[in-house]
């Protein structure tokens, strides 16, 4: 039983077992998962630029009517940063001793999606995750929420940087006005959830509250950093979810986000998503209730909440019904084999699997259920990818040992047999990676 629990610890609360990891986990699988939550989340290795720096570079690039040579340099810089960022992020997942924490970073980053399908996000997305998400995954939800909604990545992605109070000085002078995109997605996606009991009036109220939350332009002090613009802020009191927020400039938004962060609907919404991510596509309602209760009672203490997820009995039972996302499949393959793409290869590899990091199709992020990932074409594509990946392995690789190290006793005799009879070692690795047991979690 502990062997099966060790497999769960490595796959449901991690990416996949590295060689030797299952044996270590088998001593105390649940304890080992909980222990990963101690201490602050580790920072990513490497010399990575700040969100402010990359935003300043972007704003400068659209301000100058740039010569083609300069534009080329800007694009090269953005590409180099993007490839470096995803390499650092994915290497952390592949090598982490605290993979549950890395899973949480990916989970929250998807919950608070910014996507480079709006191209200017490409150079900022990595910094956004490192600055607004990662430091808070074991901290308070309210701190993460504030960090996210005031980060350049989110202010640009959901258009708030350009939203102007219609009755503000800037609004009256320019005739420009409100953009409710961020206000709506905060309520629908980030906090209360679509059934969280808000109205169109609340969307507009929150959008008004957040007017003025913007970014310093190249000609202003500290270009590229968050900047509150009092002259663009809609004056007067606003009413959000029945509560009155007196005119208070930037502090209105801080107060409103703090209230949203501890709202019971937020607790339910977040608990459901966590349970669906780590336990099952349709998690047991009582598990969701308990996680929501932990969230509410702790005031959104995410270490406490994440501990609750790992303590749910349902998480420790079979079957493995969830399907790994394409990116998690790639990370798992790298953990098991110890071979990972370098630099730009990461992007190429994940593009083939149709899950390029920071390219979620919509603000709701990547899907998180098996049905969304298992189309006929996608399954064939995954198989193709596994074979192509295995074909890059050194020819000394031992597929039988990898099967034992990654699936343990759960490796069905049929797979062990198929690997033993595979035409080559690489073919054996391809079969292991493509097997249903490895595709699922």
């Amino acid at each position: 039983m502990t062997a099966f629990s060790a497999l769960i610890a490595a796959t449901r609360f991690g990416f996949a077992a590295r060689p030797g990891e299952l044996q270590t986990l088998a001593q105390d699988p649940r304890g080992a998962v909980l222990k990963q939550l101690s201490g602050p989340p580790p920072a990513l290795a490497g010399d990575l630029p700040t969100g402010t720096g990359m935003t300043a570079l972007f704003l400068q690039s659209i301000r100058d009517k740039r010569a083609p040579q300069d534009r080329k340099e800007f694009n090269q810089r953005v590409n180099q940063v993007y490839f470096t960022e995803i390499e650092a992020r994915l290497d952390a997942a592949v090598t982490s001793e605290r993979p549950y924490v890395e899973r949480l970073v990916h989970f929250w980053s998807n919950h608070f999606t910014v996507s480079a399908r709006r191209p200017f996000i490409r150079g900022i997305a990595g910094a956004y995750e490192r600055e607004a998400i990662r430091p808070h995954v074991l901290g308070r939800f309210s701190d993460m929420l504030l960090a996210v909604e005031s980060h350049q990545g989110m202010l640009l992605y959901l258009d708030n940087a350009q939203s102007i109070g219609p009755d503000s000085q800037a609004g009256m002078r320019s005739g420009r006005g409100l953009n409710e995109n961020l206000g709506r997605e905060i309520l629908e996606l980030h906090t209360l959830g679509v059934d969280g009991g808000y109205t169109q009036d609340d969307v507009e109220a929150l959008a008004r509250i957040l007017t003025g939350w913007s970014i310093a332009r190249p000609q202003e002090p500290a270009p590229g950093s968050f900047r509150f613009r009092p002259f663009a802020h809609e004056p007067g009191a606003k009413t959000l979810l029945g509560k009155r927020y007196a005119e208070g400039g930037q502090s209105e938004g801080i107060a409103a986000l703090a209230d949203l962060a501890v709202h019971p609907a937020t607790a339910r919404h977040v608990a459901r998503k966590l349970a669906a991510h780590f336990i099952a596509d349709n998690p047991p309602p009582d598990a969701v209730d308990r996680i929501a209760k932990r969230f509410l009672e702790s005031g959104g203490d995410l270490r406490h909440v994440s501990e609750g997820v790992a303590r749910e009995e349902a998480a420790w039972r079979g079957p493995f019904a969830k399907v790994r996302s394409p990116a998690d499949l790639a990370i798992a393959a790298c953990r098991v084999t110890g071979v990972a793409p370098r630099g730009q290869q990461w992007a190429q590899s994940l593009r083939m699997l149709d899950q390029l990091p920071f390219y979620a199709p919509q603000p709701s992020g990547w899907p998180d259920d098996a049905a969304s990932w298992v189309s006929p074409e996608a399954v064939l594509r995954r198989a193709q990818w596994c074979e192509a990946f295995a074909n890059r392995m050194p020819d000394t690789i031992d597929p039988a040992a990898l099967a034992n190290a990654s699936l343990g006793d759960a490796a069905p005799a049929e797979i062990v047999d198929a690997i033993a009879h595979a035409p080559s070692r690489r073919d054996g690795v391809a079969l292991l990676l493509a097997s249903a047991e490895f595709q699922r979690r």
Binding site: R117, D159, Q162, N179, S375, E377, V379, I415, P423, L431
Partner: protein
């Protein structure tokens, strides 16, 4: 490892026999009609697609993003006294003139929510209120089609969208960027997957679709059709859809997505983000029509979106989430060259901000499913679009 496409096909045919799949299973197609749904995700601005330039309130209420009147540079392409086409949709004008394009203004899909994700779910599930929809209305329509098999329905572009998920197995296709796997590997894998309820059937269908689309397209066409996320990514997919649907033994019903319609910022008028998207849409529909060849005269294509956008421009030269939008109905089987449905006008707006709904898109869909695919009227109101028994199917949408 690379293997010749011909070898792969031989291999694929080989394991079809070992698994006892008989070619007879793919014998007669259930219909010679083709029906394609294009899902415009993100909420397309219907007022920009078919601007009501003749409405006395149009210019005033649209403000900075109102298009210029017909005849001016960048102006509306006039269709009648009230409506025109966005200038970036110019490639579609000949289809209107030849009677193969019909436009439907002020459409809604039977629900009221301004959430993209709820609305897309409802648009695809065909329900009026949120439930736990696990299947889509187009798949339920397939269940009513006699002689349907796993090749009748086709999702183009990757994952099968909700609209096509359900009881009837469907194929999916997307551009190939990976080397083909070896037949031996696939043979071994299908053995390993045979007990997996999800992966097993999906792999079988993937193999069938792959072998099939290679035959139709030829390897070169498959490799050339690059995906891409921008407005230019749609045309290659639409063209492939057309080629696949043109084949005698090919699919009959297909769905494909086009993204990028959520124009909160810099939507623009005759130029800008939205104009680029319209250009991509028009290029795609045109490419699809040409690729369909002789099958085009038996084809209906519908482009639909989850809701419309605000009438007035917002603070960022864009528009926010609204209510009614517009539909495009195109194809050789369409009795086009006209605007279908009522126009509620811009004098009075929904919630003081949105165009009101005049035509329920489901009445149009029901009219097409009944008259084009010959589906049973009563079942359309209960099974395909539950709870719409009293919503009449639109009459006379198709050529007699």
């Amino acid at each position: 490892m690379t293997i010749a496409r011909r070898d792969f096909l031989a291999g694929a045919a080989g394991f079809a026999l070992t698994a006892g799949i008989h070619r007879a299973a793919f014998a007669a197609a259930p219909t010679d009609r083709r029906f394609i749904v294009v899902l415009l995700r993100g909420a397309m601005d219907g007022l920009a697609a078919m601007p009501p330039y003749g409405d006395p309130h149009y210019a005033e209420k649209r403000g900075a993003i109102a298009l210029k009147p017909p005849g001016q540079e960048g102006g509306v392409i006039a269709l009648d006294q009230t409506f025109g086409l966005h200038p970036a949709l110019a490639p579609l004008e000949p289809y209107y003139k030849s009677g193969e394009l019909m436009l439907v203004p002020a459409t809604g899909n039977g629900y009221s929510t301004r959430s993209h994700f709820d609305a897309q779910d409802l648009m695809e599930s065909g329900l009026a209120a949120k439930g736990h929809a696990s299947d889509g209305w187009l798949n339920r329509a397939l269940t009513l089609l006699k002689g349907v098999d796993a090749r009748t329905g086709l999702a183009v572009g990757g994952a099968v969208p909700l609209i096509l998920r359900g009881q009837v197995a469907v194929a999916s296709w997307e551009p190939d960027k990976l080397p083909q796997p070896s037949p031996d590997f696939l043979v071994a894998l299908r053995t390993l997957y045979r007990h997996d309820v999800l992966l097993g059937p999906a792999l079988e269908r993937g193999l069938a679709a792959q072998g099939f689309s290679d035959q139709v397209l030829g390897a070169d066409a498959a490799m050339d059709a690059k995906g891409g996320y921008g407005p230019n990514g749609f045309a290659p997919l639409a063209e492939v859809a057309g080629k696949l649907l043109a084949a005698d033994e090919g699919p009959r019903v297909a769905a494909l997505d086009m993204l990028g319609w959520d124009t909160h910022v810099n939507q623009g008028a005759d130029t800008g983000r939205l104009a680029q998207n319209f250009a991509g849409l028009a290029a795609g529909l045109e490419a699809m029509a040409k690729a369909m060849g002789a099958s085009w005269k038996r084809t209906v294509v519908v482009a639909v979106t989850e809701f419309g956008r605000t009438v007035a421009v917002n603070g960022n030269n864009g528009t926010d989430h609204g209510t009614a939008s517009a539909m495009l109905v195109m194809g050789g089987a369409v009795r086009g060259g006209r605007v279908h449905g009522d126009w509620p006008g811009l004098a009075q707006l929904q919630d003081d901000r949105d165009l009101r709904v005049a035509t329920d898109s489901r009445s149009v869909m029901k009219g097409i499913l009944r008259d084009h695919l010959g589906l049973d009227s009563a079942a359309l109101g209960t099974k395909v679009f539950p709870g719409t028994a009293t919503l009449a199917a639109a009459q006379g949408l198709l050529r007699a």
